[in-house]
């Protein structure tokens, strides 16, 4: 029993990832325990989205060495949908549009796939309704096509809706905060906080500490040129805000 509770949700060891032959992650280590929320900060191009894509299993991102262990299991061989079914969720920095696919249909299929069982429409409807309310999304969203013609903020809310519907064990939020006004940010933060539990874990990727005022992380890591160069508590986010990333660049050199 105690063994199980001590198993980290995510354990990334010496991870090297290349995209199109170019190495982006260069020996990244990260352990996220159950019940924890970690923030990953870093400027544009440091490899944050590459890390999230590698954890999700996007085949375009090649793992050249190192391991990703999820719930005690090496997931190298799992396809993207198998990882999702195992409880991994990624809120994309740039969500993809699916023209002609309605939100309601997409959610239904996703929930069915992740639960491995059809959800009766009777149970599905109130669940959607409740989550729409949490996210302050109008009902009219449901018949629109997934991300098709959505504003940046609408896309992020839809990502959060999917997260709430799927109740993932590991949620990775790749710059879900960027481009949101303060009201939307609060709504999104409420959704993230609502999902926190002893068994779940969260990886909040951002380059502003703004969202961290609403979602308090247990640990903060700084990603620089494909490696985590500094880790600390919530205070690290404030220091970064004050001193900028140059401060760490010198340290790393």
């Amino acid at each position: 029993m105690s063994d199980e509770t001590n198993t980290p949700v995510l354990e990334v060891s010496d991870l090297h990832v290349s995209v199109g032959g170019k190495e982006i992650l260069k020996g990244l280590n990260l352990t996220v325990g159950a019940g924890e929320t970690h923030a990953i900060m870093g400027r544009n191009g440091s490899g944050k989205s590459t890390l999230s894509a590698a954890i999700m299993g996007n085949p375009r991102y090649e793992i050249t060495s190192g391991t990703i262990v999820y719930g005690g299991q090496d997931i190298a061989e799992l396809a993207v949908h198998e990882r999702a079914r195992a409880g991994v969720f990624l809120s994309f920095q740039y969500p993809v549009a699916l023209p002609g696919v309605s939100v309601v249909n997409f959610l239904r299929q996703a929930v069915r796939a992740v639960r491995g069982d059809d959800v009766p429409i009777k149970a599905f409807r109130p669940l959607v309704k409740e989550n729409l309310k949490i996210l302050d999304i109008p009902q009219t969203f449901m018949t629109r096509y997934v991300n098709d013609g959505f504003s940046g903020g609408e896309k992020k809310r839809l990502e959060m809706l999917q997260m709430l519907m799927l109740q993932p064990t590991l949620a990775i939020l790749d710059e879900t905060d960027s481009g949101l006004d303060i009201d939307a940010l609060k709504v999104v933060s409420t959704a993230i906080n609502g999902l926190r539990s002893e068994k779940r874990a969260q990886l909040v990727i951002t380059h502003y500490q703004r969202i961290l005022q609403y979602v308090t992380p247990d640990h903060v890591h700084v990603l620089l040129d494909g490696q985590i160069v500094k880790s600390g508590g919530p205070d690290l986010a404030h220091e970064l805000e004050k001193h900028g990333y140059e401060w760490l660049e010198k340290d790393a050199a």
């Binding site: 949908h81 999702a84 079914r85 969720f89 699916l98 023209p99 096509y145």
Partner: protein, 440 residues
């Protein structure tokens, strides 16, 4: 140009002449004469020139009757489609059942019949409604001078005549279910007229009797949308995989009128469809929508022309193609703005999704603009399903196979949802789903 093709099928045409004479025997004299004239025009014309893009991808010889003789229409329709069993006319305004080119039976909601709407066989209409038929029949034929159009005008066994009188508006669709069988030549002509200020919807549900039936169907349609009228027409073609199908659809849209056509092409071994729309008045609005979903070795070729003879009107064309296995689709489209087309707002788009390496789609959208002050655009694309879309779906637990199904269905959906008649639309959806099940 291709005089060497001129007498390719001179032999069997002697028997065509007999058929034309026999079929014309039941017609009023003016129509019997028109048939003979059409046959002469057919015989005198050469095969279409393949240098021009209209026939670049498809061999016109394959549409000659050759050894095939005109089929005598079967007098039994068979099982009724669900839409035609609506005895209380709750969902449909009326229906017609056609076999092998001839309308066997038609029925209208009595309330609509009272409004003098006509839905019947064209040959019957030529006798009973000469005032409506004679001034319009074959009047749109000259536009493209198509050899095969002359063939259907000469040999047609019958077809649909649909007339909505002035200012009559009908909220439910009319359904024409047309089933073909055998392996002969099946020719039909249809004439649809939406009178001034009227509003109506009509759907053509085209099927074949069995999977082995292999007729050659030449179908000519003329559609008149008179001033201020609104007409919505759908063609759902789900014939068996051995049918050869050559529809020629001629539309004329007058001032302040609106026409929307939706064409769904699922069946047939070889399909060559030609649809032209003339906008002859200002204030009109034309939508030409279509999907093609081909698999196996199907060859489906569509050509469209929107001709803004007069301007200050709009046209939008949206054709979407999905090809799987070794299927092939060709789309050639022309958008023409004539010398008097100032103020035309015209757009065409053709997107093609390839589901296998051996599938092929060609697309050639053309613009021919003879005046200034117009807004025109055209877009065309061919490619496989975007991998990022699949990965996105997978990240929500959806398998790659289910993701492809979802994406292709979504790609076609904006057109499918424009098919009127809920039952027919659902049938299209399930036909698409069945086919996807086999090819993704």
């Amino acid at each position: 140009m291709s005089t060497d093709h001129m007498n390719v099928d001179a032999g069997p045409e002697t028997s065509l002449r007999d058929v034309v004479t026999t079929r014309g025997g039941n017609d009023p004299a003016w129509l019997a004469t028109a048939r003979q004239d059409a046959l002469s025009a057919y015989e005198a014309s050469s095969l279409p020139d393949r240098v021009q893009h209209l026939w670049r991808y498809t061999d016109p010889q394959r549409f000659l009757p050759g050894e095939r003789t005109p089929t005598t229409p079967d007098s039994h329709f068979g099982d009724l489609p669900a839409d035609c069993q609506d005895a209380t006319y709750e969902h449909v305004a009326g229906y017609a059942l056609a076999r092998d080119g001839r309308v066997l039976r038609s029925a209208l909601d009595p309330l609509i019949a009272d409004k003098k709407v006509v839905l019947t066989d064209l040959c019957t209409a030529a006798r009973e409604h000469e005032d409506l038929v004679r001034p319009r029949l074959f009047s749109l034929l000259d536009a493209g001078g198509d050899k095969f159009e002359q063939l259907s005008a000469a040999t047609f066994a019958g077809g649909t005549f649909f007339h909505v009188p002035r200012n009559v508006t009908i909220d439910r669709p009319f359904v024409v279910a047309h089933r073909v069988g055998g392996d002969g030549l099946i020719a039909s002509r249809s004439l649809l007229v939406a009178g001034e200020g009227s509003e109506a919807t009509i759907v053509f549900d085209l099927t074949s009797v069995g999977d082995d039936d292999a007729p050659l169907r030449h179908e000519g349609l003329e559609i008149h949308v008179e001033p201020g009228a609104r007409l919505h027409v759908a063609f759902v073609q789900a014939c068996g995989k051995r049918v050869t199908h050559a529809p020629v659809i001629r539309c004329r849209v007058e001032r302040d009128a609106a026409l929307e056509t939706v064409s769904v092409a699922l069946g047939g071994a070889l399909v060559k469809s030609l649809q032209t729309t003339e906008l002859v008045g200002k204030g009109s609005d034309v939508r030409v929508l279509g999907i093609v979903f081909a698999n196996g070795r199907q060859h489906i070729d569509h050509h469209t022309l929107q001709d803004h003879v007069i301007g200050r009107n709009t046209s939008n064309l949206d054709y979407r193609t999905v090809v799987a296995d070794r299927a092939r689709s060709s789309y050639t489209g022309n958008l023409r703005i004539g010398l008097d087309g100032v103020g035309a707002d015209a757009h065409q788009s053709n997107h093609n999704m390839l589901l296998s390496k051996k599938a092929r789609a060609d697309t050639i959208p053309e613009l021919e603009i003879l005046t200034n002050d117009v807004t025109c655009s055209h877009a065309a694309a061919c490619g496989p399903i975007d991998e990022e879309m699949i990965t996105f779906c997978q990240s929500r637990g959806i398998s790659p196979r289910d993701a492809r199904t979802l994406i292709v269905t979504g790609f076609l959906e904006p057109i499918v949802e424009r098919v009127p008649g809920q039952q027919l639309r659902e049938r299209v959806r399930s036909a698409v789903a069945d086919r996807l099940d086999r090819v993704v």
